[in-house]
Amino acid sequence: MKLYVKATSSYRSDKENIDIKKELKQRYKIDVRRKESFIYAGLLGALRLKEQHSINKDDELYLTSGFGNIDILAKANDYILEKHETIRLFDFINMLGNTTNFYIAKALDIQGKSIFAISDNFTYFHVLTTIYASLLKNKNKVIFGAIDLALGNPEALKRIAGIDEETEVIDSIMYQYLSLDTSDALCELEIDSKFYTQDEIVSIVEKETREIIYSKRCDKSSQDKTPYFETHASFVVNEMIEKSQDCLYIECYKDRYKVLKITTLR
């Protein structure tokens, strides 16, 4: 399965020091009322992507995340289970998976299919597979956003992510504009439906000439001090495009592995 990246947008809290809400209000003239951090994040990435590439009304929107919106769950939990009050109306709405999709669709003026989906460990890979099937069938283009927010509730995130307490966690917002057509593409992404065993991965790695990048979950070496965010694969795609560099990205779940071949085209 080959998909082509036409444009990207990136944000990482450890690389860029901005107030996202303020940026949306001042630069993009977005009404920030009744929204919260996860929606702001989604909007920032999407609006930055729109600056890079024209967007069509029928474009489809897929969002993924490691764990979705933990901040709003913490807020709702506080109202209901701790203070025994009712949930605030807009907090309830903002808690729903596809609320962020709605605000992004409105901001980009798109009306195509809009999906919020996750998959443990393989969230980038499996949503990408689903996007490929949709592109093949529906012949549209896809805006693919990967959003991880950790800084609002870092300890809660660390408890559900299967990582050490000392691991640094960051916020990350990565977008790609995807198509099956190669014209003007920045990069080719190749995945397959197969899960590899560890032995098969060893054999692939031995033969591979390009750089190999492992997800933090696969790379257990003590030297690995890079920060954690679940949609790391999405960042690697954008980073490789920026550096005009090819790589093989490897993700794992228990004893199953997946491979993403990233080939830059410019």
Binding site: L73, I80, G97, K113
Partner: protein, 374 residues
Amino acid sequence: MANILNTCIRSSSGDLKSSIENIKQSTFNISTKTVAAIEGKVEVPYYTFPKNIKDTQDGIYAALKDVVGELLENLSKEDKTQTAIIIGTSIVDWHIINAVETSNYPYKRQPFYSKKRSIDSYAKDLSDAFNLNGFTLTINTACTSSVNAILEASNLIDTGIYKYVVVIGLEIFSDMMSSGFYAMQLLNSDTIKPFDKEREGTILGEAISAILLGDDDKSPWKIKGGHSNCNALSITAASEDGTEFVEMMHKALELSNTSATQITAIKTHATGTYANDISEINAIKKVFDNSITFTALKPYVGHTIGACGALEIALFMACIDDGFLPKTLNHSKAILKDYVPLLEHLNCTSGTFMFNFFGFGGNNTSLILQREDR
């Protein structure tokens, strides 16, 4: 092309057989739940699981395992290795709530322990338990979650990526979701009255519904096509004239190579809320003439939010397999006098059927299925 090969459910009425028996007899099982409200704790009607399904993490997983086991009983070992799982739900996992609580409240503090877990972990566990392919996905688009899962599953099959996909609609009682629906004044009724002038709101429900899709041609149920869009007047409602729903139905018909006159009946979303039902009936009027047959299933099983797609499709299919189109309960005063839902069960064994679902966040999805003549 993807076909629906098998279905298996657990609703407030029990399994598929007992649920269909209840529909035939025009009865339903309703209980109550306590919900957080401004005025304190309030009791609201709720279509809860029968007592044999425990409202715990282990209880729900056991029920999921039963349902998926039953669904896959005729699939070979080889076929299972080519089977993916997609869950459609609006709920979040207990594990995340526990992590939030132990992190934020000193009196609930526990020593640090980290385990990867999300709502998708149910799909991963099921995939491992039944030796399936390992591909899992969990879609959360509110009330359209599981019907969107069906559309995504049919894409994966139609493009040859997977041979089979299990779609699971899952919804269990949640304090947060119920409190949210109550805060929106949507739970003010003790009956769901679809398309009725005196409708006052909806009643939520619990459900697990699993649907097996595959490229196997033996099934009489074919997926002709469908369409999902993201378009609404506001985050919680479409335009009263139903413009967004009209567009969705037209596109679904076009993508299925079906004309409006070829539709035998519509399974409507029909939550019994003011906003949904008026937009939906106005949209139906714009796409179909008044001879169209349409019905609603939520009065039998409640509004099961993320599960309603998979649940209501499974129930509707079982009714047709049993030889009848199910009538709409609790309807007496039509919003539009020429557009009255089906008020008596009607003999029907085949046809082309439209299934409509609408969700908060502007998600509108229409699926068209065909049941071949026997």
